[in-house]
């Protein structure tokens, strides 16, 4: 016999778990942002950032090309004149929070929990090419007072 009450309870429990996982992921990014900002005396702000790209060259009925959005881990220098975010890695997150995927330099790293996410982000920051990119962002001319 169908047990709607049990199914409802299971759905609520899953929703709670997903919400906790998403909050946990956001907390990891807050810690990342704060630590990197401290280490760079406020010259680097790292966060998840949403971008738009052209999906196809077909015109939509509203005019313009068909577009889609994607997320990236991006960095900017809030003290520079140019405050644009620069992409460091692609970011994908499951609706339930985990797994989340960090993609850069030909590597797709699926992280299944908080610890592996922290390790994945650590690997990203420790990468030589990312290090150079961040150095370039830090060196951007400062905003005029």
């Amino acid at each position: 016999m169908t047990n709607f009450q049990k199914a409802f309870e299971a759905g609520q429990e899953a929703a709670t778990k997903s919400e906790l996982a998403r909050k946990e992921i956001d907390a990891v990014f807050v810690a990342l942002r704060e630590e990197v900002s401290t280490a760079t005396k406020g010259k680097i702000e790292v966060s998840k950032h949403e971008y738009e790209k052209i999906k196809s060259l077909n015109f939509t009925i509203m005019g313009g090309f068909e577009k889609e959005t994607f997320w990236a881990i991006a960095a900017r220098n809030p003290l520079a004149a140019d405050k644009e975010f620069r992409q460091l890695a692609r970011w994908e997150q499951a609706p339930a929070g985990y797994p989340c995927k960090i993609s850069w330099a030909g590597v797709d790293n699926n992280c299944h929990d908080k610890e592996s996410l922290e390790r994945g982000l650590t690997r990203l920051l420790a990468d030589a090419a990312i290090g150079e990119k961040l150095r370039g962002i830090m060196a951007l001319p400062a905003a005029s007072p």
């Binding site: 797994p99 030909g106 699926n110 992280c111 299944h112 929990d113 592996s116 996410l117 390790r119």
Partner: protein, 322 residues
């Protein structure tokens, strides 16, 4: 009445694309362990298999960079290219490599898929895109060497997660293109075709019609290789095999079909690449078979072969290649 002369021109036949996977046992986790004699034997096997089966692409497992250099040097073919996907530098070690005939295939793109759980990082596979010079069409290849069952049991949730991650990669390829995508997966999965990771999470099935009708599924011909290679006939004493990997301490079987080559639905639907299942098999080399059963040897896997026919349909589109 004048009639036009019948055209007798015949289109040249294109050789099939022949693929091979072999877990060489030379350097598990890219850490060398083979003696000079072991390596010499493995290289001899690879050379002989390459010549016998006209192999265009071979993926090798349990190799290190030095093994790849030695194999390539010994084969000594200027048309042979390779992609070294080994990595012994980090905490997680990776030990696969891909050798290919650059007259027929060009490597367009490659990448690595990792799954991390806590402190552990497992390699789901190496992803490569090849362009075939015969068809001017692309196919995708995923080469995997999944963790040993000694470290990650068949029922361990990590195995099913790896299967799901690989599945998602395939879904992303399928959804990024309007036409059917040719995808080959090969490797040592340390799981049988019937294991949940492959059958339920990767969706690699034995049911060809289901795969043809629904391209979410993959076709795994190695379901055929789960049992004995030939039926029992009293008095018939030719030794058989029932898998690709031999583990003498196996509880309910000493044989396992861990080495497999799996195909996307497009390979069952005609042109430009068509699976030739008749020629896709476990390669039986008598001497290697006796070595893998010997506890004093390092070798414990047989190679597997996959054959893909290049169909004539492509000639209409490729007059310049005639």
């Amino acid at each position: 009445m004048n009639t036009l002369p019948e055209t007798t021109m015949q289109l040249p036949e294109i050789e099939p694309l022949t693929l091979m996977w072999w877990n060489t046992s030379l350097s598990p986790l890219a850490k060398p362990r083979a003696s000079a004699d072991d390596k010499k034997y493995a290289i001899q096997c690879i050379k002989s298999l390459r010549d016998t089966f006209h192999i265009d692409l071979m993926a090798l497992g349990e190799v290190c960079t030095q093994d790849i250099m030695d194999i390539v040097a010994e084969i000594n073919d200027p048309h042979l290219s390779y992609h070294d996907a080994t990595d012994a530098s980090g905490k997680s070690k990776f030990d696969t490599a891909i050798l290919f005939n650059r007259r027929r295939l060009s490597l367009e793109k490659h990448g690595t898929i990792l799954d991390s759980f806590g402190k552990a990082t497992l390699k789901v596979g190496e992803r490569l895109s090849f362009l075939s010079s015969d068809t001017e069409k692309c196919f995708h290849l995923f080469v995997s060497h999944w963790p040993s069952r000694l470290h990650c049991h068949e029922t361990c949730s990590k195995r099913t997660e790896i299967g799901t991650s690989l599945r998602k990669e395939l879904d992303a390829i399928r959804s990024s293109a309007a036409d059917k995508q040719f995808i080959v997966l090969m490797g040592d999965y340390n799981d049988d075709p019937s294991s949940p990771s492959l059958a339920n999470h990767l969706l690699a099935t034995r049911d060809r019609d289901l795969v043809r009708d629904n391209d979410s599924f993959l076709y795994n011909p190695f379901w055929r290789a789960l049992g004995e290679s030939s039926p029992y006939i009293h008095g018939y004493t030719k030794p058989g095999i029932c898998g690709t990997h031999y583990y003498s301490k196996g509880e309910s079987s000493r044989w396992f079909t861990f080495d497999q080559i799996i195909y996307s639905s497009a390979f069952l639907q005609g042109g430009p690449f068509v699976l030739n299942e008749d020629k896709s098999m476990i390669i039986r080399v008598a001497d290697l078979e006796s070595r893998i059963k010997s506890s004093s040897e390092i070798f414990d896997h047989l190679p597997v072969l996959g054959v893909v026919e290049i169909t004539g349909e492509q000639y209409d589109e490729l007059p310049k290649s005639i």
